[in-house]
């Protein structure tokens, strides 16, 4: 089990090669179905979240929430591609974010949750009303 500063290489469907730190790309990845542009965006997302969690970047939860909101302000095609890639790469937080955004976009819904309110509902859902697969 290597250290977090190890670098790994990813090759995309359009033959672009990316080199990233292992902490950013946690799993063994098959990226032949993901294009260079999408992978680039995804790596931005992962870097932002890993750096914020590790304390390498000074960013408050509210600022990160807002960064995420801006991250998904893309056209619908790109949003679809992000969903598929997040699903394929098993990045659950990005999948949640993009799917919710997709639903809200399709149905023209404004997310009127404050960050605290959303966190409270999310916590109650997971801690009280969650089923195991076992």
């Amino acid at each position: 089990m290597g250290s977090t500063s190890t670098k790994i290489k990813l090759r995309t469907s359009d033959q672009k090669v990316f080199e990233v730190e292992k902490a950013v790309a946690v799993h063994v990845i098959h990226v032949h179905s993901v294009s260079g542009d999408i992978l680039s965006k995804i790596l931005d997302y992962c870097k932002k979240h890993v750096n914020s969690a590790a304390g390498k970047e000074d960013i408050s939860p509210e600022e990160l929430y807002e960064w995420d909101a801006n991250f998904v302000k893309v056209d619908q095609n790109t949003l679809f591609d992000l969903i598929l890639a997040a699903n394929c790469l098993k990045i659950e937080s990005l999948l949640d974010l993009t799917c919710q955004t997709e639903i809200r976009t399709t149905f023209n819904i404004k997310n009127d949750y404050t960050i605290e309110a959303e966190e409270a509902v999310r916590r109650e859902n997971k801690w009280a009303f969650d089923m195991l697969g076992v």
Binding site: M1, Q76, N77, F80, D96, C99, Q100, I103, R104, T105, T106, F107, N108, I109, K110, N111, D112, Y113, A117, E118, V121, R122, R123, E124, N125, K126, W127, A128, F129, D130, M131, L132, G133, V134
Partner: protein
């Protein structure tokens, strides 16, 4: 290019759409889209599942979901099954029933597991819910046949009464007669846990006869073999049947009557019961064996040759529960006859005996893993195992999702090499990529936990006993197993360091149980202070933990996340840690 749909649905339409969404996970996702979706969803959520009754309060559930029709609650931790949770620990359902009696007059279903249910609770259920249909009490205790009589008498539309594996006080055998003659709605009745005299057979016969939709009927030991034919002839539509005693002196007319009754049950797919079996009566089952998908012989003291004969008649078997009398030879037959097998559980006939009483070894399990391509779920008690066998099993069956191995004697090494079984279990977690539940046994070092932390990415529940060398073992699991929700540990040298270093992980899990480990009272207090959203409960029946130095290990520790804060129904031997709580007692 997608067209943007710039309109909003009226609430009734959304509600209609949401009514098709049954899974909790999906409904939880819906609730996070925006506040109005949450509002609509919560008014139309009809089913709730609460995996830990102390993770949330009845009031909070009722406030969020005002129109619930079906609730499932779990109480005591799993290790209660091994008598590690003292009596009086908690898990009382009465406060839930009391709140729901007022808030949910249309409640239809209550399913409970490992909870304390009193007659008062049952009487309250009978009185409060006019449309009550389903009561499932799985491994519950605290009630008597008086409570059952109240349910039988009052619940006019009762569909299911299932008391599986519960402990019931025997007060009167006549509670069954309390079902009114007008009750014809029963679909499922499981009274297999009742002790001998708690059943009035004539009342049972009449009840069965007047319920045309009865699909599942599990009798108790009081019902003798000669009575089975009468019952079956009244319910030929049964899909699932549990016998009582399956023993009697062999009489040709009784046999042919029984065989005839079984053969008239064209839908019968699942059998259980079989206390005290006389093998000569097993051929009475042969006509239905070809259709059987589930067979529970875990009480049947049948020897291997008879088991082999029976199993060889059941090619469609998907689920088999059996005692180790089946032996390796019986499991080899199973492997060759039952290609649809998905679940196997082998229980010990003599767990406390010093010497093996049967010839059941790792070979039986290896044979089944090789012969049964659909095998997903294993619970196996045995006395010896080897790394080689475990590696073979792992390579044969990478589709395993549940693997529970119980080598009876703690710390038993690989019988061939005398080494720990780290490599064998390592192979299991490495090859079985969808493994969700794992129970370890045998001689194990910290290495096995390193494998588990590295490969067990989908593991949700892990049970550990008498294993590991140091805190590193626990650290590997808590830092590596991303999907871990329930961890239960006994008699392992795991202490403060790993627990405190991974405190945040505990908020991502449903619960952690540690007993007879090395976690100090001081660490428990610190954890309680650091993590206010966790309930850190210390259990000690001998003396209060603060009557000893802080560095002394606690006897038992149960930690769980909760949105309800600390509980207030603890017995004198349970203490909650925490800053605000000040060692609540």
């Amino acid at each position: 290019m997608q067209k943007k749909m710039a309109y909003s649905f009226p609430d009734e339409v959304l509600e209609q759409v949401f009514s098709f969404i049954q899974s909790d996970k999906d409904r939880n996702a819906v609730s996070l889209v925006c506040k109005s979706w949450d509002e609509i969803e919560r008014w139309c959520r009809r089913k709730v599942f609460i995996g830990n009754c102390y993770a949330v309060s009845p009031r909070m559930v009722i406030r969020r979901f005002p129109e619930v029709r079906s609730i499932k609650l779990k109480g005591k931790p799993h290790f209660a099954d091994f008598n590690l949770v003292p009596d009086g620990w908690g898990g009382y359902v009465l406060p839930w029933i009391a709140e729901m009696a007022g808030a949910y007059p249309w409640l239809e279903e209550i399913r409970l597991k490992r909870m304390v249910v009193t007659d008062e609770s049952l009487e309250l259920i009978a009185k409060s819910f006019k449309n009550f249909k389903v009561l499932v009490l799985f491994s519950c205790e605290g009630f008597s046949t008086d409570g059952l009589a109240a349910i039988a008498a009052s619940c006019k539309n009762l569909r299911e009464l299932d008391l599986r594996e519960s402990e019931v006080d025997d007060l009167s055998g006549h509670w069954l007669a309390h079902f009114p003659e007008t009750c014809t709605s029963l679909v499922s009745l499981n009274i297999s846990c009742l002790r001998s005299d708690e059943v009035s057979f004539s009342a049972l016969e009449r009840l069965v006869g007047r319920c045309p939709n009865l699909r599942s009927l599990r009798l108790n030991r009081a019902v003798t073999l000669d009575k089975i034919a009468n019952i079956l002839r009244r319910a030929p539509q049964l899909v699932d049947f549990g016998t009582g005693y399956y023993a009697a002196e062999l009489q040709p007319d009784v046999f042919s009557n029984l065989a005839g009754a079984f053969s008239s049950c064209k839908e019968l797919k699942s059998l259980s019961g079989f206390w005290d079996v006389v093998p000569a009566y097993l051929p009475a089952l042969y006509s239905i064996c070809p259709r059987l998908t589930s067979l529970n012989l875990s009480y049947a003291t049948i020897q291997s040759p008879d088991l082999i004969k029976l199993v060889s008649h059941c090619p469609r078997l998907q689920r088999l529960l059996v005692l180790d009398y089946v032996e390796d030879s019986g499991l080899e037959e199973l492997a060759s006859s039952c290609k649809d097998l998905q679940e196997l559980r082998v229980f010990p006939s003599d767990p406390f005996g010093a010497e093996p009483n049967v010839s059941l070894t790792e070979q039986g399990l290896v044979a089944v893993s090789l012969g049964c391509p659909k095998l997903r779920s294993v619970l196996y008690f045995c006395r010896r195992m080897s790394n080689a066998a475990l590696v073979t099993i792992a390579q044969n069956r990478p589709n395993l999702t549940r693997f529970r191995l119980c080598i009876i004697e703690p710390k038993t090494p690989d019988y061939l090499t005398l080494e720990p079984l780290d490599v064998g279990f390592g192979a299991i977690v490495e090859h079985c990529k969808d493994l969700r539940r794992l129970s370890l046994s045998g001689l194990l070092t910290d290495h096995v936990f390193e494998y588990i932390g590295t490969y067990g990415k989908k593991l949700e529940m892990l049970s550990v006993a008498f294993a590991g060398d140091s805190d590193l073992g626990l650290h590997h699991v808590l830092s590596g197993c991303e999907s871990l929700r329930k961890l239960e540990i006994r008699d392992c040298p795991f202490g403060d360091k790993a627990l405190l270093a991974n405190a945040a992980k505990l908020e991502t899990m449903r619960s952690l149980w540690m007993s007879s480990c090395a976690v100090s009272f001081g660490a428990c207090k610190l954890l309680g202070q650091k993590m206010p959203k966790l309930n850190v409960e210390v259990i000690d029946e001998t003396e209060p933990p603060d009557s000893r130095p802080e560095s002394c290990p606690v006897d038992k520790l149960y930690i769980y996340r909760s949105v309800a804060g600390p509980r207030f129904d603890m017995p004198p031997f349970v203490w909650t840690m925490g800053e605000a709580v000040r060692i609540l007692h």
